[in-house]
Amino acid sequence: MVKGIEIRTSPHLKRALNVQQIMRSVVYAMLPICAFAIWQFGLSAALLLATTTGAAVATEAWFSRLRGAGNTVADWSAVITGILLGLTLPPGFPLWMAAVAAFVGIGLGKALFGGLGYNVMNPALIGRAFVQAAFPVAITTWTPAFAPSRFVELIPTTLTAPFMRPESVTDWIAGLGVDSWTGATPLAMQKFQHVETPAWDTFAGLVSGSAGETSALLILVCGLWLAWRGCLDWRIPASVLAGAALTALPFWLVDPGLYPSPWFVLSSGGLMLAAWFMASDMVASPVTPWGAIIYGVFIGALTVIIRLFGGLVEGVMYAILLGNAAGPLISAWTQPRVYGAVKKARAKS
């Protein structure tokens, strides 16, 4: 009746959710954001996303061949890095630079540390930080959203030949016939001209900016779905957003003409995307529940401080990289209190 029963060690049951499924869910959650980016910025955004994803996957495959320990592309984490990177770049970003960013992100940011699970920082942000330093002009060249010709022609900078400087887009934009184009994102307008874009426009994403960061609303919905699926620790985005709003609040109360409202802070720039999809990167964030909250608040507060007082328009990228760097320390501070620990001082948790 019985032949060849197996011996295993307990527990004999296993929850169905595994790494591959979590990663795939994150990819699914980003697809609507990609679709919105393409709808908003057209062919260039589509090519940009395809390039970063392709380059990230190829880099991952190459490094996993070098390591000789099986193909790690199948865990989908490189796909996430690729898409995420594409979403944070300006839509007209030259494709060859985007490929460099993906290569640096996966290579320097992840493979060098030993691959998935060992990277200290978010690989997509490493890639972006690299190109921000290397190509400061290209990464701040913004183009208008909803250009009428976006599905028939590329933004001229997209196809810049490798190692060439991208041409200027000013004439091209002028020829588009988009009214009221100032060449600045809502964040820059607020910072330098103190003009706050109407809240609904930034929240819904009807503004220009990086390819995938514009619609805070859409990002929020996708992020909530992911948290509901159990594939994301809700503590992190919640505390990033709370940290940012609470830091911005006193300044705005003092001088609403000069400083942005907490509402604008939350809905503009890359904060929403970063809070839900980058700060929440499991590997690079603290593993302890309290650590996750401290880390989130730290990132949120730092982002606002950089935005208000730093030289940069957007600070969330550096805030997260700093948060990542502090992660292991935060984890070490917030080791859980074991059941029955003799000092009864903290009755919490």
Binding site: V2, P11, R15, A16, L116, P336, Y339, G340
Partner: protein, 486 residues
């Protein structure tokens, strides 16, 4: 997403449409709200049940057997009775090969205080005293009893006790004489627990009716069918320990048992039955104490140090049943269930019945891949189904093979998702412990990260999306540390 073990219910478990709908609903709910997840926990704030922090919600499939009354089975041709089926010193045989024994007759005596005697579970003849397989693998000495199938199997050793007039010492001695051990799985001699350390005063007896292990329903049936014996046992134990009150903790997936017990509880006695949240490992002593009393057993201490003694419902029902009759423990209730079982159920099984005999009786599917003694979370997978049911075995769970699901088996590096920290009921950091184990830093695991507090409940390994065998790592680390100390 399929849930690890097959979701197919055994035939006859309430038709096919009910589980089908349940499965469809399970697919719709998010991983965090599904019993397997424990993610946000936000939805649970509104559920006001006593509980402990952390823990997991595995799919339990108790509905396969919860409504099945305890049934008796025929005797197996030969019963195998290991001398070491309890914690402590193995019993010493009182019989010789070829000797005839009557059902209920003592066949081995206790070897010291932390040890118990053994009684013949059936009338028959001693066939051999020899090595027998154990679930752990290595063989152990056992008495082989060939059953006289034609015998009426009356229990002849009824000395009888008037439990109300017995002194506490006499009760403790009688509990030992009855060969009673913790029937919840620990198999620790029960009378030892009745003698708490000198520096502790017991004020509360907690009666553990949680039965948090998936698939198992034997305690549930005991609470429903042996309520009077259970209440008798509780009153006796309260008297002996000097406890001022008793609380029966039952998971809220067995509310009919709570009602049944409440209906039978004598008024004016400080005994209450309370529902606690259905969550694994609610039935662990430390967790149940936290849930019911909000107290934590101090590290390195015993429940007695917070004034508590915890007994399993099955053990107390046996005390309440056996002591007045003066009989020994010769049978117990066992749930036989699992996806690979055709006709799951709850059975009154003579101690020593081989697992093979039981499985033949309930029928197994060709997909059978693994047989577990005890529960699916903490039980032990057997290498041979010739091992017998011993006093501590509360269930036999037969799982299907799952080789065809490599996604479940592939091990990834730790992705620091923190799920294990949110699952560990002891509030350890299994992620960190796992990394230290891989680096062979066993000493640091114990000194810096409380390895010794881990009671191998399996919650961390259950949730880990990287499929890291955390619990097994910790088991190995602990045994290595133990060896180094010696």
């Amino acid at each position: 997403m399929s849930n690890g073990t097959s979701q197919d219910p055994p035939k006859g478990a309430g038709g096919t449409w009910r589980p089908m709908i349940a499965r469809m609903l399970a697919g719709l709910r998010p991983a965090s709200a599904r019993p397997g997840g424990h993610g946000s926990g936000l939805l649970r704030i509104f559920r006001k049940r006593k509980t402990f922090p952390h823990g997991i919600y595995p799919v339990e499939h108790k509905e396969w057997t919860a409504d099945k009354p305890i049934r008796r089975l025929p005797f197996a041709p030969v019963l195998v009775l290991p001398l070491a089926q309890h914690r402590g010193a193995p019993s010493q045989p009182l019989v010789q090969v070829g000797q005839e024994v009557v059902r209920g007759e003592p066949i081995a005596r206790a070897a010291g205080f932390v040890s118990v005697p053994m009684h013949a579970p059936a009338t028959g003849v001693i066939q051999a005293i020899d090595l027998a397989p154990t679930p752990e693998g290595p063989k152990t000495m056992a008495i082989f009893l060939k059953v006289y199938q034609a015998d009426p199997q009356q229990v002849l050793f009824d000395t009888g006790h008037d439990i109300d007039s017995m002194t506490n010492e006499e009760v403790v001695a009688a509990v030992q004489e009855a060969g009673l051990v913790g029937l919840g799985g620990a198999a620790f001699p029960s009378h030892v627990k009745l003698m708490p350390p000198k520096d502790a005063v017991i004020d509360t007896v907690i009666v553990n009716g949680c039965e948090c292990e998936p698939y198992l329903t034997c305690d549930h049936r005991v609470m429903l069918e042996q309520t009077d014996a259970l209440v008798r046992g509780i009153r006796l134990i309260m008297r002996v320990t000097g406890a001022k009150r008793a609380i029966i903790g039952v998971e809220d997936n067995k509310l009919n048992a709570v009602d049944q017990i409440r209906a039978k509880l004598p008024a004016n006695l400080p005994i209450t039955a309370e529902a606690v949240e259905s969550k694994y490992p609610q039935g662990a002593e430390k967790m149940l104490i936290k849930s019911l009393l909000g107290k934590e057993v101090p590290v390195g201490g015993l429940p007695a140090h917070v004034g508590v003694a915890v007994f399993n419902v099955g053990t107390l029902a046996q005390i309440g049943d056996l002591l007045p009759k003066g009989r020994g423990l010769i049978e117990r209730v066992v749930t036989v269930s699992g996806p690979a079982v055709t006709n799951p159920g709850n059975f009154m099984v003579p101690i020593g019945t081989p697992v093979r005999f039981l499985l033949n009786h309930v029928g197994t599917k060709p997909t059978l891949g693994q047989v577990i003694l005890g529960g699916a979370m903490m039980g032990m997978s057997v290498s041979s189904i010739d091992v017998p049911v011993t006093k501590g075995v509360s269930g036999i769970v037969a799982l299907e093979r799952d080789e065809d699901d490599p996604a479940r088996r592939q091990v990834y590096p730790c992705i620091k998702c923190g799920e294990c920290l949110k699952a560990c009921p002891i509030n350890l950091n299994p992620s960190m412990l796992g990394e230290l184990a891989q680096a062979r830093e066993y000493g640091l695991m114990a000194q810096g990260y409380n390895l010794d507090q881990c009671f191998e409940c399996g919650s961390c390994a259950y949730v880990c999306p990287s499929n890291i065998p955390l619990t097994q790592y910790f088991r190995i680390a602990k045994s290595i540390n133990r060896e180094r100390k010696n």
